[in-house]
Amino acid sequence: MKADCRNAFLIRHALRKHELVLRRIKRNKNSVAGSFGTVPKIPSRVIRAISGRISGKMVGNIDRATELWNLKIPKIFSIIENPEESLDVIYTLSSLSRRTGIAGINFDHSECEKMDLCASALLDVVTLGLDLEWNSRSKKSKLVGVYPNDPRIRKLLQCTGLLSNLGFRANQEDIDSFIRMPLICGRRKVSRLYLGGSDHVTAVQRLIEYLDNCFNVAGYTLNVNGQQMVGEWAGEIISNAEEHSGEDTWWASAYMDLSLKGVDGECQLAIFSFGKSIYETMLESDPSTAQMKAIKALVELHNKRKFFGLFGARNYHECDLWTLYALQEGVSRFKGLEGGVDRGTGTVAMIETFQSLGCSVDAAMKPKMTILSGTTQIVFDGKYSLKSVTTKEDQLQQIISFNKENDLGTAPDIANVHSIRNHFPGTLIAFKFFIDRKNLDAKSRVE
């Protein structure tokens, strides 16, 4: 494929930090080879975590002349708005790790018109993993690409996307139009945990500072209640990633684009981990607990009422109900916890707060968030909210059912809770919201 030189980028030349990792792998090459020299071990944790577990369609084709895989990035590369085509790209990358006769990848962004941070960060992490793996097998790989025609997407790619994470330095003016929290990779701390200072705690503190900086742009600051809310929510998501996924590593990234007209900025935030999906970890719970009996009774009810199946272009399956159930207050994914309740609704509560604080006076700019785990996507678009419900024992429980009745026994709105055709091995949480001084002024006047 001949790429227009002005629009082409050669990523390999942009590598800096990544080169050091590659050199280390080359030094240890003998230790990564399989013990019998037949099947090489996969050195990249990322590729190992998703290989054979992610499902999707292959995207692109091989250019016989250059032996480069032409990977067409879809028009809408977004986990929030187009998860299926976006995950196809990730599936393709993970499949290429085992293919022979490929000299590298040509990332063709030319037709990409929308790109969200979650899809972009996921692409970066998997590409870096793939590159590490190829290098561990002494395979010389070439990473090249074609810039998007859209100037805003081009800027995003350079300042917050693959190029940025590979060490490419964009021009200062473009960099200054973002407030960034660069991609963080955190791992579960296992020894001397009682001393604190884990990646988990550090990341939560950094996220609080980052969001405070974003609100500062509009002349606001996060007070202690705001900091608590972010701390509770981010802590819950990272805890779940560390304790349930079985992979103990997670990634987080954020940016605020200051160049948008009409608002102070558009914020995007992504947190993801690989490993087991929410549904898979729920299935591992002790079947004799009241919680498991209750969810099975609920599944039975949805079955009897014929809620599962295809509705229009969307599917609603049992695994979607389990995932929705896991978001409710007091639902635990810990095995055999004797009547204990140790999960909150931090994720949903935080999403709801950003639905309110993160909107704009311009009705076209609506915040949107999604949770994607396994084959389930749950979309938060402000239509449904968390409400208190009284239980049989007269206790208050926070519930979100994604239906008018706010009843878990009734089918959720298929637009908000549904299955996708891909399987993502892990959990992704993506946020898009706006910081608009006019909206914040109006909200603070009401308060």
Binding site: V201, Q205, Q228, A290, A297, L298, Y325, G339, K392, Q397
Partner: protein, 112 residues
């Protein structure tokens, strides 16, 4: 005569840590302080100091640290034996944590 044990969360944190989060972290502190042994003794009170710079005691951490004590002792005995020296915003975390630890019923129980 009740004996009083003093625990400062500062000893279980790093660099003026503002956030205490994670069930495993809470359990690790619980094990270090030996709260399981403390729950068995009726002659002990515990005084928890939470430094003023702490912004949040997340529910995951709170429940890892105190969840078992609340369930073992019951809320009345827990409140009698556990005293907290903290800022008002942390007091709110503690009250929310107590409520969650005691949440025993579930709205979908009616489908059983």
């Amino acid at each position: 005569m009740m004996e009083r044990l003093k625990v400062n969360l500062k000893d279980f944190s790093k660099d003026q840590q503002k956030i205490f989060s994670g069930r495993e972290y809470g359990i690790a502190v619980r094990d270090k302080v030996k709260l399981d042994e403390f729950d068995q003794s009726t002659e002990l009170e515990i005084f928890f100091i939470i430094p003023e710079y702490v912004v949040s005691l997340n529910s995951s951490f709170f429940l890892g640290l105190f969840g078992r004590s609340i369930r073992n002792l019951g809320i009345g005995e827990f409140e009698r034996r556990f005293e907290f020296d903290c800022e008002p915003h942390i007091r709110k975390n503690i009250e929310a944590g107590k409520r969650r630890a005691l949440l025993t019923s579930n709205v979908i129980d009616e489908y059983l």
